[in-house]
Symmetry: D2
Subunit: 346 residues, 4 copies
């Protein structure tokens, strides 16, 4: 029997304690270190987890041979530096989303990971969410038919951030989900947005993503909306679905609806014959399980079994690349940006 993976968390302010708790509960791992500049936060952690060592200097954590993996939950502009340093110390790295603040930084992180031969995983939690998994199965099994387009509404009132705009705050979730569901990355995009409340920090944005094979995706992200909405609508040639993350009991609705195209005979001048299909709606039961817990265990498994995490550095990089392009487009009044994406399998 092997010793558990020793995990150290850098940054235990807002989100880090959730990660620490879940890595501590993950089978095969134990929380070993917490690093933060704020001693108040460290004391709080110490009270909850007396056996976890705390430090204001994360280098102490990196120097400990018992630390196998480092979890980075600090502001995004420190991710790259901390991750590279951790790889150089021979640690596996789990980094919160967004992976970093530029494609270039992401590339450095991937290279450092490969050079060190250590795992790199990005905290795209929704890839470990049961409802999203069910959608993935519905797509992959062909039940929805060909995917036509997907649109996402992720809006509510607040919380405004001062360190990044609404695209960097909310869209990483959706781009990660889309890339995974569609097994591809965007070919091009256009985006528009505005900053209404704080100068130069966009609080509303509409992003159009063009995927391969004519698949279109659209994101509406906003901190300025009367209602909290988190929906993803997937329109396929055979069925359609709506995923409502706000609902407690009815997260997924699968509609047996569609348009059937009857091709005209070759020797007639007939036009396309369309028939509409309105069938049952099914709300499959989604098992409860904490996505963060699934995510933590996935990372531990990747280390133990030397497998590639679902949200590895390459996928995290693609998300950041898309975020950067969206912001560029937005600042150029919606000019199209080419990303050159492709099907992942292709």
């Amino acid at each position: 029997m092997t010793a558990p993976i020793g995990v150290g968390v850098i940054g235990v302010g807002y989100w880090g304690p959730n990660l620490l708790r879940n890595f501590n509960n993950a089978s095969g791992a134990e929380a070993r270190w917490a690093a933060d500049l704020d001693t108040g936060r460290l004391e709080h952690i110490k009270k909850l987890y007396p056996s976890v060592r705390t430090t204001q200097d994360y280098r102490e954590m990196l120097a400990d041979e018992g630390t196998d993996a480092v979890v980075i939950a600090t502001p995004a502009d420190t991710h790259c530096r901390l991750a590279v340093e951790a790889f150089e110390a021979g640690k596996h790295v789990f980094v919160e989303k967004p992976m970093a603040i530029s494609e270039d930084e992401c590339r450095q992180m991937v290279q450092a990971s490969e050079k060190a031969g250590r795992k790199l995983m990005v905290g795209h939690t929704f890839l470990f969410n049961n409802a999203v998994h069910q959608i993935k199965q519905l797509i992959d099994s062909g039940e929805l038919g060909d995917i036509y387009y997907v649109y996402v509404n992720r809006v509510n009132l607040g919380l405004f951030r001062e360190d990044c705009n609404v695209v960097w705050d909310l869209a990483p979730h959706d781009i990660a989900i889309l890339n995974w569901l569609l097994d591809s990355t965007p070919v091009s995009l256009t985006a528009v947005g505005h900053s209404y409340v704080q100068p130069d920090i966009e609080d509303v944005a509409f992003v159009n993503l063009q995927y391969p094979n004519k698949v279109m995706a659209h994101l509406h992200v906003s901190w300025l909306d009367p209602n909290k909405v988190r929906t993803i609508t997937v329109v396929g040639s055979k069925k359609m679905l709506v995923y409502d993350d706000v609902s407690n009991t009815e997260k997924l609705r699968v509609y047996d609806k569609g348009v059937n195209v009857v091709m005209p005979h070759y020797d007639t001048f007939g036009e396309f014959q369309l028939s509409y299909r309105y069938g049952d709606i099914v709300l499959p039961r989604i098992e409860d399980s904490e996505p963060l817990r699934n995510e933590a265990e996935h990372f531990v498994d990747a280390i133990l079994n030397d497998s590639t995490p679902r949200s590895d550095g390459h996928s995290g990089l693609e998300v950041v690349r898309t975020l950067e392009a969206a912001c560029d487009s937005m600042r150029e009044g919606g000019a199209a940006r080419i990303l050159g994406g492709a099907s992942v399998g292709g």
Copy 2:
């Protein structure tokens, strides 16, 4: 006492009979003629309105001195020709939306109207809808504060058309509403869309409209959606509202919600302080009244009182100009199109 305005309707297939009924009921007017190429339709009208004269040749209607006004409910590509001919015969013209199929045609219609000194009105029904009127009052009274942005969802499954795409089918409503609510026309736009079911006829589109003063509008129109949705969300600096045209009893919700920006004192380095306001939600009672009836009476009033209709030729032209630009942008992969719009008052 004057004789009632004699009204003739050209095209009594799908929508024309509704117009005929409402013009017949409008005070100060009476339905006098119905023209259609299909004799079956004419017989149907004759049975419902025995006193209405029917003809396969609309010129007969135009030649009748008792015809004061002509209502055109034929396919959009015939609007211009018929309207110009009617003006030349000295008639007032009410034309269904879209006004025509190009800005150029619209211009010819406006010129013919001005030359003849006769009224030209476009059937943008939503400008005669009580809920939309209430929104207009909420905006104009300042109750919503500065308008930040507006977004519209007009989606459902079907009905696919073969003669125009989803933008020409559904967006005229929304552009007319937006231009009227915002008292301005778009400065520029970008649009993306695809044709999934019928070749070359877009069935899904996302259109971003930039209005003066940083006001942004966004349209999602689709024939390919699992749900029927018709909502308009208006986000202001003081309040927000959602108009749900599908609901029978709760069409309008006004949210006393917003973000208050507290400006920092000049002598501190403080950042913007934001506070969120979550107040009551009010669902004002909307009086029932048929928009089409209001619209018909508005046209009759414009004739009788020599006033300018709310949806006159100029406003109809602006809608068509925007539709054309949206389709251009859509076919160029979302390239921005300058429209140069401005506040109507300015």
Copy 3:
């Protein structure tokens, strides 16, 4: 080929014209007569159906040999007299709900029908409604398991009637549905209610019906409610369902939910072990079809094929008997009334 069944309608005020239209459209039948004391109503019918003969004296209709069947849509207190007279004239009779205003009157009608050898059917429309049919199938197929209890909410604001209370106005629908769904009639009942707006005319009532085999049903009927609600909830041992008649698109929801009882082993003192089952929710597609049309054709079929209508005189009588008992109980402060009902099969 036989001549169509000639149908005469007595009472063409509010509801009668719907019946006339549907009997006219039913295959195998044709509307032949309309009788009403109000000549204005008769003129209206004449305009819509020029071939229908109209009269102020229904006896003229009864005297016509071409009249095979009479549809009675007059106030409830005239049903018995008119039906008996029609049977005596050798006509089949379709009578609107409630069948009459007392069990005794119903009995006279049944006897007259039997004596004349003519069909008697009561207009319990919901027995010809597709959603209710689907519920019946779900129950009869065993998919819901044993039926535990059913409750009905039929409430809204208005319309207050002056000729009967809310129980006689709204509950006939539900009692007819329940008796049919449960294949039985109530064993006993209790009811409470009050008249808040008009003296002595109850506008709110709660009725508890006890069916055989411990099946319980509960009705809440009201003219005094902020919302329009029409729901029927059926709780079975295996599945549960909610029928929402107000919804246009989601009328039926079938919940794969329940409580499993694990019986303890005989040799332990264990208590019942319960486990909760939360499965999928299915919203089956309900085909659109007008219940009134189905109802009219059912009556015509019963005549043509000499079969017993689903809502025959016996079933109509049971509904009236239950309504009478409910009102008695209500006026005695909720005292239990024995009805002695039983399973229809038994």
Copy 4:
């Protein structure tokens, strides 16, 4: 400055820890003791609140002079004995709902409280809930007009209890709310219910309560329902409201709806003229605050200021009396039970 009220909690299994936490946080009080037979529960409390003394023998807590008040969160059949013993030791008592298992026990508790000159309060949490307070204000201010009737739906799937039926489990909340809102207690009641899952433990019940002045209340409580519903509908002569405790953001809806009765002139034979009023719907903002915290502070205030708690022994007794009568009625097939209630003021 006085020393804080020392509070001891008897029973720290399921609900007791919430009470302990809230009394510990209430200003003017501190948690001093926790008693439980289960040493595991005591250790758990000790870890969370190191300064709280723990004991398996509550008599130790009662013997401590520093214990001013005792909170009883044990099974209902022990409430009376423990409360009386606490009063005899000179303590104030807060007891969870239901106050006891019979009216007789409640009377003993009230007498012991009065003899000892100590406060007795029952944990009817909803009387300390902000939404319920807003309803109380709407009623007392006359905004709703005369109250006609109230109905409550408190249903869901599970949790089945083995120690009491669904009436004792769920109805105490609603009876306490109703008595408080209506400032009166029931005059009489009828109730029906059945035990479908566990023998002899009713899992579904319908209870009709008759209050003074013709005000009617109706409860539907169930452990066997496909949906979780917690609504209270209040119908007044001027306005109506629905309180939905399951909704996070829209708990209260106030409908400006009603029926206006126009009395006929004395010299006409006219019947009542009714007109329906359909006005705005308002969803007032409900401030978030934990009812349990409000409740704990209310008890501490009552001790400090020698005032009568809102939910004192008399009100707790009335709830239990009504529960007993409801169960009696239920077992007698819905027979009416006289309670003789009256307006509290009268």
